[in-house]
Symmetry: C3
Subunit: 366 residues, 3 copies
Amino acid sequence: MPILLDPDHAPSLDDLLAATDTTGLEWRLSAAPGRTSPRIQGLGTLSSAGAAELSFLANPRYQNQLPGTQAGAVIVSPDVEQALAAEGATAPGFVRVVCKNPYLLYARVAQWFERARRPAAGAYVHPSAVVAADAVIGADVRIGPQCVVEAGARIGANSVLGPACVIGAGSVIGPDSLLHARVTLYAGVTVGARAVLHSGCVLGADGFGFAPDPAQGGRGAWGKIPQFGGVSVGDDVEIGANTTIDRGALEDTVIGNGVKLDNQIMVAHNVRIGAFTAVAACVGIAGSTTIGERCTIGGASMLSGHLTLGDDVHISGGTAITSNISRPGRYTGVYPYAEHGEWQRNAAVIQQLGQIRRRLRDLEKK
Amino acid sequence: MPILLDPDHAPSLDDLLAATDTTGLEWRLSAAPGRTSPRIQGLGTLSSAGAAELSFLANPRYQNQLPGTQAGAVIVSPDVEQALAAEGATAPGFVRVVCKNPYLLYARVAQWFERARRPAAGAYVHPSAVVAADAVIGADVRIGPQCVVEAGARIGANSVLGPACVIGAGSVIGPDSLLHARVTLYAGVTVGARAVLHSGCVLGADGFGFAPDPAQGGRGAWGKIPQFGGVSVGDDVEIGANTTIDRGALEDTVIGNGVKLDNQIMVAHNVRIGAFTAVAACVGIAGSTTIGERCTIGGASMLSGHLTLGDDVHISGGTAITSNISRPGRYTGVYPYAEHGEWQRNAAVIQQLGQIRRRLRDLEKK
Amino acid sequence: MPILLDPDHAPSLDDLLAATDTTGLEWRLSAAPGRTSPRIQGLGTLSSAGAAELSFLANPRYQNQLPGTQAGAVIVSPDVEQALAAEGATAPGFVRVVCKNPYLLYARVAQWFERARRPAAGAYVHPSAVVAADAVIGADVRIGPQCVVEAGARIGANSVLGPACVIGAGSVIGPDSLLHARVTLYAGVTVGARAVLHSGCVLGADGFGFAPDPAQGGRGAWGKIPQFGGVSVGDDVEIGANTTIDRGALEDTVIGNGVKLDNQIMVAHNVRIGAFTAVAACVGIAGSTTIGERCTIGGASMLSGHLTLGDDVHISGGTAITSNISRPGRYTGVYPYAEHGEWQRNAAVIQQLGQIRRRLRDLEKK
């Protein structure tokens, strides 16, 4: 499980690998003599896959599941293949696909299955969708029920809008993009090619900009700074469910090519995220902060505003970043948890650390 | 306030309690001689309830509001009833409903009111809803305006879909469930009986799975791992507004029976949450983590991926859990706040703790 | 950029300032002799604005961009104007608008542009919207496609509902409000005048209330406490994308006048937020907590339940507030981050702080 294709449409393992995009990967088959290539209906973990499924071993922690697997074929590294061979006469019952990068080969095979089960293309607009007369809809675009595409919006060829998406006036979706149900783009948002946008994400809401203005009701009142910038999203970007990306105040909020954003992330106005940076769920990035390329930001981290993080910076989950980081590396700031009573004892001392340092100095002077 | 029923439809206190499901609860009435049973139109706090309302005292911090309450009746514990009796001649003006568990009895009475004001049932599909011809709609299901129910989806008997819900292809909602406006289920999601799903929640978005793949645009680029698993939600589960539960990579993300999830929670792919565990708002649970039964997770906590928490584990709000927990108990990891200047002084020492320990050791050696 | 008006509709700088609401602000123009008032098509930063755009200098960190700006006019403080004058013969190429509060004057001008580009008003209900016959729709209200307005709801004059908003039964929107796409109000929610509500926000979902009730499935099971209160939002409130505000248990959750809430904030049941308080993104506020007036709550902070914060309290981002605060001031509780190895060394000592204090005491006694 999951079985992805019925037996009649399942390719043989050889045909499957021939159909898979293996750019940059080398692989070979290894099997007991006389073993024929199994038909592959789907993919599974080592513990759950059956004879018509392909599995993979990428994480050593699962190696002990290899001898008992029922999978018809398994992608393994050359090291694992060698170890299997060294075990001698008792060749494993599954065919091995040997590759230096089993996880990536698995990903490529999985991508083939994803395409194989995608519904047939062909231009389509559900009759309940409301599409402005001057919207520009590319070839073979599919627009689901209850969608709204406002004036002047452009949807690139082969893109799919799931149910109930809203594309604001003049906004742009590149070709080959997939918007799941209930994606919202305000006006003035541009998304590149091959985007994957998940349900509930909101691109282009106003940045949080207010100036103190007593004329708006008295002491402490706020006057709104209208947000005239847009959101500019590059190619090959994935944005998770209920993530929000605010429009810029005067210039755009910018998400670079190949950036991957998980669910429930908040990207404030005028943030810039460099190419290939990946951000895990529940992260908040405050206004005007710039993040470099190839960074990873762990879940539930928060970044203060107006910061600059260089390329190849890796932030551990749950860390608050409050100053610039120019040097590549891993940065962490998680308060360690403990049993509640122990935490109470230690936390009490936190409040006295300045005093403790002073007492230590006094002792050292004696 | 709130008044829930008009006077003509309000039951007497006796009738109300007779109609209430009191399974597992014992209770008795206590009133001044000759006092008749008041009609109960609604429920209120001790400070706000009027003569036609029932109140309750469950939290001792509100006991001082008891003498002044205008409520027609109050649910109290035997201890409170005894204290009231001991005050002698001046019997309180309200009828007492005496029960060892006032809060639970209140909950049951409130549930009766909730049912009483629910609109009449009866099968109904709003004409603006888009329901696939082969969707299986149970008896007396109500489907609100602008909903989308895709091919092969199944909605159990007596369930209600509020406005603008999207039920993906082949997904399943059990009987007697309530989906508020704008709930989104992707394809391949199963929800059990008696679910309550709140607006903006998203079940079944892709898990955040990517493999490094330079062929996708160069150094640092990511290749997508398609997410073929589903989401499996048990019976009696409530899921809060804008909470997201991702689908599994190959197997399902699993939410056990009776689990309660508050708003804006993120449950990543392949997480498993045991029965009756309650999770407060803004919690993030990273991929493949397993949480036991009867746990409580405080608000804004975060759990790293691939962890195992046993049964009856209680996490304080704001705590980052980064390792397995097998022993029941309460765990905390909140950095204590202080006035800003004091925080600055103490936080500066945090960065020197290793050094401070060393200096202490040096002194001890002398 | 952004150019907001075409040349034919762009006012001269004099006309623009005359049309701008400058209540409470004084300003004057200063320019090289003979310089005519430029036409202003839009607004820009110092680094991006062109000759037909107005810019501003509010933050000293951008002062070095002033000499090189291409802007046709710049709002500056009297100090900056004096410094420019002191530079002598080489008068700057741009017209200066001199004002003690450049940022606020900029805000007011930007508000003028925001109004100028707003589409013409006039009553309008898109034919795909579903509006209950007994809903009360004020004068010149505009209701977008796919909206749902339930029975008895009221929409105040001049308000705009973007696409796919859901207004629950009996809920109220005040006049001159703007709801962007996909705003959800449950039944029983009241919002005041001049509200700005962003996509995906949810007002009125059930508070997270459960009582232990073994009758619901065994040990550890929960019984639901129905939530009968509402949500009451004052005038001039802005609520960000995907923010959730739960309804009260018996009384209302209350958001005061002029409160500004950023994206992805969670406000639990029975919270009360005082006038003009501003809350940054990703904050969680637990149930029954009261926040005073004119507070600011930094991003990703969390507030425990049943607390009281007084007026003029300022919480730094990422801080967990776990006790009452009565004194105005700034409060912080962020664990400082470090390079990962350094963090590991220091975090290890955190777990021994109680012991370290004891050892220090022992040494001091000697």
